[in-house]
C-alpha cells in the first residue's frame, strides 16, 4: 500500500495545498511518495522532503513538465502508477486537469474534491455546490483522487525524506504552452490566506475595489470577488470564490456588496468567522454571517479602514 501524491508548485516554491493533501493522504494508509514534476524543481523537491509523513520524494525534471500540460504529466504518472493504490493531487486547477485523465487511462473513476477520508476506499465529497455531502465508496483497484485543501490542515515540516531523481517519459507532443498571464501580487494567496475580504457587484467598478484592497493590506488579507464582480471586470478571474472558483476557509471572511448566492456560499461557507456588509437587510449572505452590518459599503468600508 502506498500513495503517490502530485506536488503543486511553480518550480520555485511548494504550494501549501500539497501539505494539506499530505494530511488527507495519511488517512488513506501506506507510505506517501511525493512526485515533483517540473522544468527545474530541485528546490521544490527539497521542500517536499521536509513535510511530516512523507517517505520519499520523486523528482522528474524536464522541460515537458514546466507548464503543467496535462498529457505529458498524465503519462509520467501512469508510468509510476503500478506501485501505488492511491494517486492523489490537490484539487487545484492543475490537479483537476490531470487526475481525471490519469483515472481514465487506468480505467478507474475519479473521486474529485474530497473533503474527508473515512478509510482507504471511502471518502466524503460535497455535491450540488456544497448543499449536500456524499460519502462514496470506490470499487476500483486504484483510487484517483483530488483533495479540497480548505478541508485539511497542512502537514508539519519536521521530516527529512530522501529525494530520488527520476527520468522523464516520452512527451506525446499534443499541446504546447504559449504564455501565462499572471498578475503578481504581494498579498497572500486566496486559498492559503488567514483573512479574506471579497467584493461583489455592489462595488460598482474596478476603481472602487481599491477601498477593499486598502483594508486587505491593513489586515494582511487576500482579496476575493464574486462571479458578478469578475464578470463585470472589477476583479481578475483568479479572485473568484465559489462553486466554480476557489474554495476557501479562512479564519475571517468579509463579504462586501455580495448577495450570497448559493454558488458563492459554496466557496466560503466553511470560513471560521463570516462578516457581511450589505445595504439590503434581506440579502441571503446574512443567513451565514456571524456578524452582519446593514450599511452602504461606500460609507462602511472607509470607516472600517479607519477603525483598524
Amino acid at each position: 500500500m502506498a500513495v503517490l501524491l502530485l506536488a503543486e508548485h511553480d518550480n520555485e516554491t511548494l504550494n501549501d495545498a500539497t501539505a494539506k493533501t499530505v494530511t488527507a493522504a495519511q488517512a488513506m494508509g501506506g507510505d506517501i511518495h511525493i512526485l515533483c514534476a517540473g522544468s527545474d524543481c530541485g528546490a521544490v523537491a527539497a521542500q517536499a522532503a521536509k513535510l511530516d509523513g512523507v517517505a520519499k520524494v520523486l523528482c522528474a525534471k524536464d522541460a515537458a513538465y514546466g507548464h503543467d500540460l496535462a498529457e505529458p504529466l498524465a503519462d509520467l504518472i501512469i508510468s509510476l502508477a503500478g506501485d501505488y493504490d492511491h494517486i492523489v493531487a490537490p484539487a487545484t486547477t492543475n490537479g483537476k486537469n490531470v487526475i481525471p485523465r490519469v483515472a481514465a487511462l487506468l480505467d478507474c473513476m475519479v473521486i474529485s474534491d474530497i473533503s474527508a477520508v473515512h478509510g482507504p476506499d471511502t471518502f466524503e465529497r460535497p455535491i450540488y455546490a456544497g448543499n449536500a455531502m456524499a460519502t462514496v465508496k470506490s470499487a476500483d483497484p486504484k483510487k484517483c483522487i483530488t483533495v479540497r485543501g480548505a478541508s485539511f490542515d497542512a502537514a508539519g515540516e519536521g521530516g527529512s525524506a530522501a529525494v530520488e531523481e527520476i527520468g522523464a517519459v516520452a512527451n506525446p507532443g499534443l499541446s504546447e504552452w504559449v504564455e501565462d498571464k499572471v498578475v503578481e501580487s504581494d498579498r497572500p494567496e486566496l486559498t492559503s490566506a488567514k483573512r479574506i475580504i471579497s467584493g461583489g457587484r455592489g462595488m460598482g467598478s474596478k476603481e472602487n475595489f481599491e477601498i477593499i484592497e486598502k483594508v486587505a493590506d491593513k489586515i494582511g488579507a487576500a482579496v476575493g470577488a464574486s462571479r458578478a464582480a469578475v464578470d463585470s471586470g472589477y476583479a481578475p478571474n483568479d479572485y473568484q470564490v465559489g462553486q466554480t472558483g476557489k474554495v476557501v476557509a479562512p479564519e475571517l471572511y468579509i463579504a462586501v456588496g455580495i448577495s450570497g448566492a448559493i454558488q458563492h456560499l459554496a466557496g466560503m461557507k466553511d470560513s471560521k468567522v463570516i462578516v457581511a456588509i450589505n445595504k439590503d437587510e434581506e440579502a441571503p449572505i446574512f443567513q451565514v454571517a456571524d456578524y452582519g452590518l446593514v450599511a452602504d459599503l461606500f460609507d462602511a468600508v472607509p470607516k472600517l479602514d479607519a477603525a483598524l
Binding site: T93, N97, V102, M133, A139, D238, L252, I262, D290, Y291
Partner: protein, 253 residues
C-alpha cells in the same frame, strides 16, 4: 469539421436542493431540471464557430433518462443540427458516472469523427469536473480545459484557460477536447420560431449496449447528508461595534 457537444440535464441552478430523509440522495422528484449552465456555453461556442464558417455540423449528445430529450431539443433550438440521446437509465436519480459517459462519448466520436468536442468544465449537480479530461484520455487527444477564450487556427487551436494563478494560454492540435468555463460567452436564448424548427431536427435514440459500454457504478453512494449548518449570527449596529466584536468576541483581528 463536425463538432460534438455533450449536454447534461441537471437540477436547475436556482433550485435549492433538499437531501432525502433516508440519506440516499437528494430529492429530484418534481424539481425543475435544465441544461447544465456550462453546457449552454459549450453549445453557444459551437454555434459561433459555425456562424464563423469554421464548423459545418453541430451534434449534441446527452446520456441519461428519456427526458434528457428536452435538454437536447433546447440545444437544437439554440442552433445545433442533430441530436443523439443515449438512454442509460430510467431512474432520474441514477446518475451515470463520468467514466461511463466518457466511454459512450468515445464510441460516438469514433463513429462521427468530429474535429472538436466542446463540453462543460463541470456539471453543477455532481461537480466532478472530469468527463472531458476522461474522454480526451480515452481518445489519446489533447485537452484544453477551463477555456475562457478559443481561437481556431487551422489544425490547431489557441485556448486561454482560467487557472488558479490567472490565465494560461496553450496551443492544442485538433482533434481535441475542450471544456468551457463561465466567461467564454453568454449563451443565447432560443427564439420561438427556432423552438418550433427544433422539433423537426433529427434525434436518434441509442442505449449504452449499442456502444458496448457497461454503465455500472464504480463508486457507490453510502449516504448523502446535509452539510453542517452554521449557527445564527448577529446584526451589529455600527462599524465600531463590528471591529470591537471581531477583536474581543471572535478574536480574529
Amino acid at each position: 469539421m463536425k463538432v460534438l457537444v455533450p449536454v447534461k440535464r441537471v437540477i436547475d441552478y436556482n433550485v435549492k436542493v433538499r437531501v432525502k430523509a433516508d440519506q440516499s440522495g437528494v430529492d429530484l422528484a418534481n424539481v425543475k431540471m435544465s441544461m447544465n449552465p456550462f453546457d449552454e456555453i459549450a453549445v453557444e461556442q459551437a454555434i459561433r464557430l459555425k456562424e464563423a464558417g469554421q464548423v459545418e455540423e453541430i451534434i449534441v449528445v446527452s446520456v441519461g433518462v428519456t427526458k434528457s430529450q428536452e435538454t437536447l431539443r433546447n440545444a437544437l433550438a439554440m442552433g445545433a443540427d442533430r441530436a443523439i440521446l443515449v438512454e442509460a437509465t430510467d431512474n432520474v436519480e441514477n446518475d451515470i458516472e463520468p467514466l461511463a459517459v466518457a466511454k459512450i462519448l468515445k464510441a460516438i466520436v469514433d463513429e462521427e469523427q468530429p474535429g472538436l468536442v466542446l463540453m462543460g468544465k463541470q456539471a453543477i449537480d455532481n461537480d466532478m469536473n472530469a468527463t472531458g479530461q476522461m474522454l480526451s484520455a480515452l481518445m489519446g487527444w489533447p485537452q484544453a480545459t477551463f477555456a475562457s477564450k478559443i481561437e481556431m487556427e487551422g489544425d490547431s487551436a489557441k485556448v486561454t484557460r482560467e487557472v488558479d494563478g490567472g490565465l494560461q494560454v496553450i496551443s492544442v492540435k485538433t482533434p481535441c477536447v475542450m471544456t468551457v468555463d463561465l466567461r467564454l460567452n453568454e449563451p443565447r436564448y432560443a427564439s420561438l420560431p427556432n423552438i418550433m424548427k427544433a422539433k423537426k431536427k433529427p434525434m436518434e435514440t441509442k442505449t449504452p449496449a449499442d456502444y458496448g459500454v457497461d454503465v455500472a457504478h464504480r463508486l457507490t453512494i453510502e449516504k448523502v447528508e446535509e452539510p453542517p449548518a452554521r449557527k445564527a449570527g448577529v446584526i451589529v449596529g455600527s462599524v465600531e461595534e463590528l471591529v470591537e466584536k471581531l477583536k474581543t468576541e471572535a478574536g480574529v483581528l
